[in-house]
Amino acid sequence: MKHILSPTVIEDLSAIATKLHDRKSTRYLLWSFAINLILAPVVYAATGGTISREQSYALGILGIVTVALSLYLFLVIFQPEKF
């Protein structure tokens, strides 16, 4: 463990983390996973246990992607010059 977490590896990891932190998309991804932690159990409960926990998480993410796409399309409609 000591060998794996050598100072250079820690430096590299912190550099990657800083870079990812600077990226908006990374933050959005993190937020969507976080929201899915609430959403997935709701989906699971709503289906009455006919789907597995993994499937409920996948469906939750699909729902978030659909909403994100809809928001993106609204953005295109209202600010088309940006695209």
Partner: protein, 686 residues
């Protein structure tokens, strides 16, 4: 060296088409980068759909348990078809861009870092790199040199080969002092003698640099029509996304559960992928068509604006009539005879270097006039738009020729009398459609010169076409009202403005724009620059001044004013093509709807809507998607070449579009999807 016909001219060296296909294929994959893909909302949705179906190919039960035979194969096929759809759309755009890039590469090849002879303040010459030159520097170029930067000739006279930018092999004479012949372009080559040039553009900001960035599409931004269409496509996509996202619960209620892969397929089939995939290719191809015509547009907006033009403001000389008016006849007036008119006409024209002036000299010589003016002691008076006269001052005697009114005013100011038969001669020439020029010596008017104007062949037919398209043509001329009305009637223009000054151009444009019309005009002189800037489409001649070129939004490399009519045609063609393919794309939805929905919900009692009798639900989905993908590459040639242009009014064009591309767009997919379905069923894919 002979002049090549305009239709055959191309930029030299020619853009290389070799490797263009391979580059476009490579770029199709590069454009899968989400940062690029996100710019096209319709195809971005297809790309996301590809990823979702790819996940469902790996694990068919990822979003819930799916029952059925060969689910993984079915999902894999959908994924493959969607991926192909995205690639085809990327290819269309990349191929259109590739043509512009190839042209830019060819231009870049002409632009090499040359050495320049910079003239220093003390008059000595220093050899430096052309990239070190700055605006205001003076350079010396001699025969065989490449002109190192854009500039104005300050001294010398030389023949310059401008074929690198115009494709015209005939050399052009460059000399200082004239608006037109004094401007030189970096990258062109001096063939004889030497010139001193004042640099007018910093490195990287010259004419060829601007051309490169324009044809390459570096400055390309969406045009207003493209933006409007993007919004329409995004709205349609949004509507279908909401419909599809809410379809699953409805399907479950109807006891016909639908898998996510099928929903994605249905969404892609319903959104307008055809026009979504071809939209940018159509715009780029429009720019390219203009460039192929040896016209450089500053933006796609300018090309598109051409398609919306309502009024064309055209100069008579060079556009409607052949540029060179020739002296046809001398008409003596008062007590003067033909020989004396010829002699005075000759004396007034010895310094006149224009084709008209030279033709007067030629006719006078033919009639026996002899050279009497000693050019070393005499002074030439240049023509100006204000005086509308030119002539010669010799030993205190003023000899003038010019517009009849101007010469009348000149003679009156010298307390001379106006002969009674002057107006008769003036009217006679005017009614023949010619330009009458009065000639006088001091306070005595000798006669009238008849300058014959020749209307360009075929111009009347072009104006008839313009009228059919609802475009109004206005002719501007410095000629008198009678001459202008005769030429206008012969050429078939809708309106004319006689005795026009350069200021009148801008007034005409403003008046038309105040009526909500879009106006196009051409110009080449510095005094045209404000009007070129005011016009919605201003086309400057390449032979024109730097000011005119900077004010215009297009530059015609062949310096042919008639080309404005062709540019308007290209603009119209661009809009017609976009409209036709949009109609076709949306009309396609009807057939795709009838192909997929009845097949999916057959068990819910709408099987009777399966009018095409498709083999199965899976086969229907695959057939509709395959058609959806293949129609994009099938329409690439039409998108690049443009729909054939016909001079029709907006209503006629709309009717034609609805009939061919609307009705055709409904019928064609019914036939194609049925044929693909038979094939899919035959090979046992579904």
């Amino acid at each position: 060296m002979t002049s090549i016909p305009r239709s055959q001219r191309k930029h030299t060296p020619k853009a290389k088409s070799k490797g263009m296909l391979a580059r476009a294929i490579k770029q199709s994959f590069v454009k899968l980068d989400p940062r690029i893909a996100i710019k096209n909302p319709v195809m971005f949705l297809v790309w996301i759909g590809t990823i979702i179906t790819a996940l469902m190919t790996i694990d068919p039960n990822i979003f819930g348990t799916v029952v059925g035979r060969d689910v993984r194969l079915f999902n894999g096929l959908i994924c493959g078809i969607l991926f192909a759809t995205v690639l085809f759309a990327n290819f269309a755009e990349a191929f259109a861009e590739g043509r512009g890039k190839a042209q830019a590469d060819a231009l870049r090849a002409t632009k090499s870092d040359t050495s320049a002879r910079k003239v220093l303040a003390d008059g000595s010459i220093s050899e430096i790199s052309s990239t070190s030159l700055r605006k205001g520097d003076i350079v010396k170029v001699i025969a065989g040199d490449m002109i190192p930067a854009d500039g104005e000739v300050t001294s010398g006279e030389a023949a310059v080969d401008e074929s690198a930018i115009t494709g015209e092999s005939a050399p052009v004479l460059k000399q200082p002092g004239t608006d037109i012949a004094s401007s030189v372009t970096g990258g062109t080559r001096i063939l004889s003698d030497e010139l001193l040039i004042r640099v007018t553009a910093d490195p990287g900001k010259g004419f060829i640099d601007r051309m490169i960035s324009l044809v390459e599409g570096a400055d390309r931004s969406k045009t207003p029509n493209e933006i409007a269409l993007t919004v329409l496509l995004a709205v349609l996509t949004q509507v279908f996304l909401i419909v599809i996202a809410t379809l699953s619960p409805v399907a479950n209620y109807a006891k016909t559960p639908v898998s996510i892969a099928v929903l994605v397929a249905l969404l892609v089939a319903l959104i307008p992928t055809t026009i979504g995939g071809l939209l940018s290719a159509i715009g780029i191809a429009g720019m390219d068509r203009v460039a192929q015509f040896n016209v450089i547009a500053t933006s796609g907006r300018a090309v598109e604006a051409c398609g919306d033009i309502n009024t064309l403001v055209l100069d008579k000389t060079g556009t409607i009539t052949l540029g060179n008016r020739l002296a046809e006849e001398f008409i003596p007036i008062g007590s003067h005879d033909l020989a004396s008119v010829a002699q005075i006409a000759l004396n007034s024209s010895v310094f006149d270097e224009t084709p008209e002036g030279k033709s007067i000299v030629l006719l006078a010589h033919k009639l026996g006039a002899v050279d009497q003016v000693d050019q070393t002691t005499a002074a030439g008076i240049e023509f100006s738009a204000r005086t509308r006269m030119s002539g010669t001052d010799v030993d205190g005697i003023e000899i003038r020729k010019g517009a009849v009114d101007a010469v009348k005013g000149f003679v009156r100011s010298r307390r001379g009398q106006i002969p009674l038969d002057l107006d008769q001669a003036y009217e006679r020439v005017s009614r023949l459609g010619g330009t009458p020029l009065a000639v006088c010596q001091g306070d005595d008017i000798y006669g009238v010169i008849y300058l014959k104007d020749i209307i360009k062949p075929g111009i009347r037919e072009r104006f008839d076409q313009m009228r059919q398209m609802g475009i109004r043509t206005v002719m501007l001329t410095g000629d008198n009202r009678i001459t202008a009305s005769v030429i206008a009637a012969e050429a078939g223009v809708d309106d004319f403005i006689a005795e026009a000054t350069p200021e009148d151009k801008i007034e005409v444009i403003r008046a038309e724009q105040a009526l909500g019309k879009l106006v196009a005009m051409t110009g080449d002189g510095t005094n045209d620059a404000p009007a070129l800037a005011q016009a919605n489409v201003g086309v400057a001649m390449n032979s024109g001044t730097q000011a005119a070129k900077e004010a215009a939004n297009m530059v015609d490399l062949d310096s042919d004013p008639t080309k404005l009519i062709d540019i308007v045609t290209i603009g119209k063609q661009l809009l017609i093509t976009r409209g036709a393919l949009t109609t076709f794309s949306i009309a396609n939805d009807v057939a795709k709807y009838f192909a997929i929905l009845p097949a999916i919900f057959a068990s819910a009692g709408i099987g009777s809507l399966n009018v095409m009798g498709l083999a199965s639900a899976q086969s229907a989905i695959l057939s509709a998607l395959i058609y959806n993908a293949l129609i994009i590459p099938a329409l690439i040639p039409l998108a690049l070449k443009g729909v054939k242009f016909r001079p029709l009014s907006a209503e006629q064009l709309l009717q034609r579009n609805i009939f061919i591309y609307g009705l055709g767009g409904v019928i064609a997919p019914f036939i194609a999807i049925k044929a693909i379905d038979l094939l899919v069923a035959a090979v046992g894919l579904a």
